[in-house]
Symmetry: C2
Subunit: 202 residues, 2 copies
C-alpha cells in the first residue's frame, strides 16, 4: 500500500515502465498491455495515457532506455581496462551482464514488433550502443577500417546470440561451461585471430 501511494506522487511513469518491463520479460513486447501495466502500478487502466500517448510510445521509451543503459554499461567497462585485448573481453562481459540483468529491456530492444515505433531518439540510442562495439573493435589496431567493422559485427553477433540463447535456456547445460567462460573464450579467440590476420597482411 505504501509503495502504491508513492506512485501517486510523481513516480507513476517509472512504475509503469517497470511493470511493462516485467511483462516484456515474460512474453516479449507483444505481451505488454497498457491495462496490465496500470493494474500492477495500482492505478486505473487509463491513467497511463497521462504519461504515454499510446502503447507504442511506452514500448519505444523502454527500448530507448535499454539502448542508452547498454551503451553506458559498455563504455564504462571499456574505460576500466587498459590492455586492448582485455578491454575487448571486458566489454563482451559487460554485454552479457546487461543482457542477464535486463531481460525485459532485451525483449523490447530485440524482440518482435520493433520495426514499428522507430523514433529518432531510439534510433540514435541504438546507433550509439553499436558505436561502442565498433570503438572496442578499433582497439585491435587493424589497419583496414572495413575489417575492424567486421570484427565488431562478428563479436556483437556472438555476444548477442549467446545472451539470448542463454536467457531462453536454449544452451544445453551439458556444455558445463558458464556463460562468462564462453564470452571470455570466444571474445579472446576472435580478437586474437582477427588481429593476427591483419598483422600478416600488412
Amino acid at each position: 500500500m505504501a509503495n502504491k501511494r508513492a506512485y501517486h506522487h510523481g513516480d507513476l511513469r517509472r512504475a509503469l515502465l517497470d511493470a511493462a518491463l516485467a511483462l516484456a520479460e515474460d512474453g516479449g513486447p507483444m505481451a505488454v498491455t497498457v491495462r496490465e501495466a496500470a493494474r500492477r502500478a495500482g492505478v486505473s487502466h487509463n491513467a497511463p495515457y497521462r504519461h504515454f500517448p499510446d502503447k507504442e510510445t511506452l514500448i519505444a521509451a523502454l527500448s530507448e532506455e535499454g539502448f542508452v543503459e547498454l551503451a553506458r554499461t559498455l563504455r564504462t567497462a571499456r574505460a576500466e581496462v587498459r590492455d586492448p585485448e582485455d578491454r575487448f573481453v571486458a566489454t563482451g562481459m559487460a554485454y552479457l551482464r546487461f543482457a542477464r540483468g535486463h531481460p525485459g529491456h532485451m525483449a523490447v530492444m530485440f524482440g518482435p514488433g520493433v520495426a514499428k515505433s522507430q523514433t529518432p531518439e531510439l534510433q540514435r540510442a541504438a546507433n550509439d550502443a553499436f558505436q561502442v562495439v565498433k570503438d572496442v573493435a578499433a582497439d585491435a589496431g587493424i589497419v583496414e577500417l572495413a575489417e575492424t567493422r567486421r570484427l565488431g559485427t562478428v563479436a556483437w553477433s556472438f555476444l548477442h546470440g549467446l545472451s539470448v540463447l542463454w536467457a531462453q535456456k536454449q544452451v544445453p547445460p551439458s556444455v558445463g561451461s558458464s556463460a562468462e567462460l564462453l564470452v571470455e573464450l570466444g571474445s579472446r579467440h576472435l580478437y586474437r585471430s582477427f588481429a593476427q590476420s591483419a598483422r600478416k597482411r600488412s
Copy 2:
C-alpha cells in the same frame, strides 16, 4: 477460391501451419492467433480445433517442425563437404540460410513464450539440431571433449546472433558486408583459432 477448396480436402492442417508461420514472422509467437490462422486458411474460426487441441499445441508443432528442418538442413550441408574447416563453414552457411528462409519458424523456435509447451518431441528435435553443431565442432579434431563443446556453443551463438540481428535489420548497413561473408569470416576464424590452441596444448 480454388486453393481454399483444397484445404477442405485434407490440407487444412498444412494451411493452418503456414498461416500461423506468417503471423509468427510478423509479430512473434504471441501474435499467432487460432482465429486469424483459420481466417487466412478460409475456414471458420474453430475448425482448427479439429487438428490441434489448443493454441499451444499448434505453436509447439511449428517449433518442432522448425527444429527438424534445421537439423536436416545442417546435416545435409555437413555431408556435402570433405575438408573439416570448409565443412564447419558450410554448416554455418546452412544455419544462416535456414534462418533467412524460415523467419516464422525461427520466431517460434526462439521467440518469447517458448518455455511453455515443451513437448518431448520438441525437446528431442531441438537436441538433435544442436547435436549436428556439436558433430561439426568435433571435426576440428580437438582432443579435449569439453573444448569441442565450447567451440560448438560459441559458433552456434555467433551464427544465431548474426541471423537474428540480420532478420531484424539491426546490423547497420554501414558494415557493407553481406551476412554470408561475415558467417564465412567468423566461422573460419573461430575454427582455426580453437584448433590451433588445441594443437599447441597437446
